[in-house]
Subunit: 309 residues, 2 copies
């Protein structure tokens, strides 16, 4: 398991290549939720989501041979753009396997960053493995990878540096990539800070895995928060979540939609539904608030075509 | 006409009561437009638009008698919320006259700030004048007022303080309130900086007024940029615009819609269509860019119900 020194080195390696995203306050949200909130504005991160942290750290650590063969990943959206961007930044060719039904803006972003995009109809993972093996590419798992997790953990260092008085961190949960990194970074430094994950009821693979005591797969995972609709919980992620995450709660689709609109109208941040998960949990009273609470606004890759003007 | 000392005093009076909004950079937008842009993020201003600058300055300067009677204004939306907020801040009762067709979120905002909202079907101005006289309220014009203009001019001081190397400022134009303030502040200090206004083709009362040599009225003014759909150009505003604004250009509805989506997807700012007018002008090639160009993101009071998730 990565240690604190690994995380600090990852953060150093990312420094200057990605954004140091701000912590924002909103008196309107504090008033609405009767809470003391601080927002980690990771929607302003390169590629519009936190994913570049782990995927750039991973790419930078590849051997010359692995780089030379080019990288490949599979993604619902944000990891595709992030790997494409990270690979371009590191001078490595990238291929990304995405569902035909992915948010068009996320497909366009991966292409704009120079990746070869393979759009797939059926089993994404099978297509990814077959293309990877056929073309001898270097596979990069979008979240179930200790280097990716270590890169994501850099976010925790920033949270602690900016707001050492934190009581709780609320983290959107898909396959467990972000929350495993954040929990690891937080708990290695300040174990008293609570780390709480939020996942959609219709894509609750991490909750089910915790209940079963081992990583589970879902036959289908669907949510308005497309970024959270992972059908599997990573094994590395599971081990860290089981050890370090205080609680994972489920939220409804209605709450995700309401939270997205609420946060956008109060803060003027164009967050994607996945990033509104912490606020959906507050709307549904799923989290007991105590002191200063950080919500990770994980991304802003909204499908702007859905904004009817 | 207000002088530089008036503007500095207004800015001092507003200091600490409203936000000092940031200037933001976007490498994605710079690349897209092949330009050097800086964004004045006035969507993060109190009430979500620049309007509080002028309306709070106005309210603070009222006599005890004028305050005691309570204030009233008429507005397409943002001025209503801003006057309601400013009046509450100054401890003055407020009434706002709005069209029944105003963006629901803007109506709700005015109510939430404690104003009495009068929703009107037909002639807004006639309704405003009749309610004002009947109830003996203190009328506050949403833009055609020298104190309001002086308050708006505080934005120019911030632009110059943050980016003294500016070449051009792009300002959305409705009835002329914001641009008259910004142009006055800029030109009194650095007349070499260009101030360019942008208005919708379907609500082009300022362009028509400049062409006619005097303030005009439109029978109807309609635009997806509801914040810019003023049917009249203010007389005070006109005099300042005629003297100080370098150019006012028209943009199409299609360009306003495309610009809103483009800027939101690239910057993750939830701007309203009015605030996208500068980028609509760039999309349509209506402005010849030279050096560092500031775009005023005038507001973020989007109708979030229009976001279909």
């Amino acid at each position: 398991m990565p240690n604190l020194e690994d995380i600090r080195q990852a953060a150093d390696g990312l420094h200057g290549r990605i954004h140091r995203t701000p912590m924002l306050e909103s008196s309107a949200l504090d008033e609405f939720f009767n809470a003391q909130l601080t927002l980690k504005a990771e929607l302003f991160q390169k590629t519009g989501s936190f994913k570049v942290r782990g995927l750039l750290h991973k790419t930078l650590g590849l051997s010359p041979d692995e780089r030379g063969r080019g990288v490949i990943t599979v993604s619902a959206g944000n990891a595709a753009g992030a790997l494409a961007w990270a690979a371009r930044d590191a001078g490595v060719p990238a291929t990304v396997v995405m569902a035909k039904t992915a948010v068009p803006a996320k497909i366009d972003a991966a292409r704009a960053y120079g990746a070869q995009v393979e759009l797939v109809d059926g089993d994404l993972i099978a297509a990814y493995e077959s293309i990877r093996d056929e073309r001898k590419l270097t596979g990069v798992h979008p979240f179930d990878d200790l280097d990716v997790i270590t890169g994501h953990a850099s976010l925790a260092l920033e949270l602690l540096a900016d707001r050492p008085d934190l009581d709780t961190v609320l983290v959107p949960v898909g396959g467990g990539g972000l929350i495993s990194g954040v929990a690891l970074g937080i708990k290695l430094i300040k174990p008293a800070i609570r780390v709480i994950g939020i996942e959609p009821s219709g894509a609750d693979v991490v909750s089910r895995s915790l209940e079963a005591g081992q990583p589970q797969k879902l036959p289908t995972a669907k949510s308005v928060a497309d970024g959270l609709a992972a059908p599997v919980c990573g094994t590395h992620n599971f081990a860290i979540i089981q050890q370090y995450v205080d609680q994972v709660v489920r939220v409804s689709e209605d709450a995700l939609i309401e939270a997205t609109r609420l946060v956008m109208s109060r803060t003027k941040l164009a967050l994607e539904p996945a990033a509104a998960a912490p606020f959906a949990a507050l709307l549904e009273g799923k989290v007991e608030l105590r002191g200063l609470t950080a919500a990770v606004i994980s991304g802003g890759n909204l499908d702007v075509a859905k904004l009817k003007l």
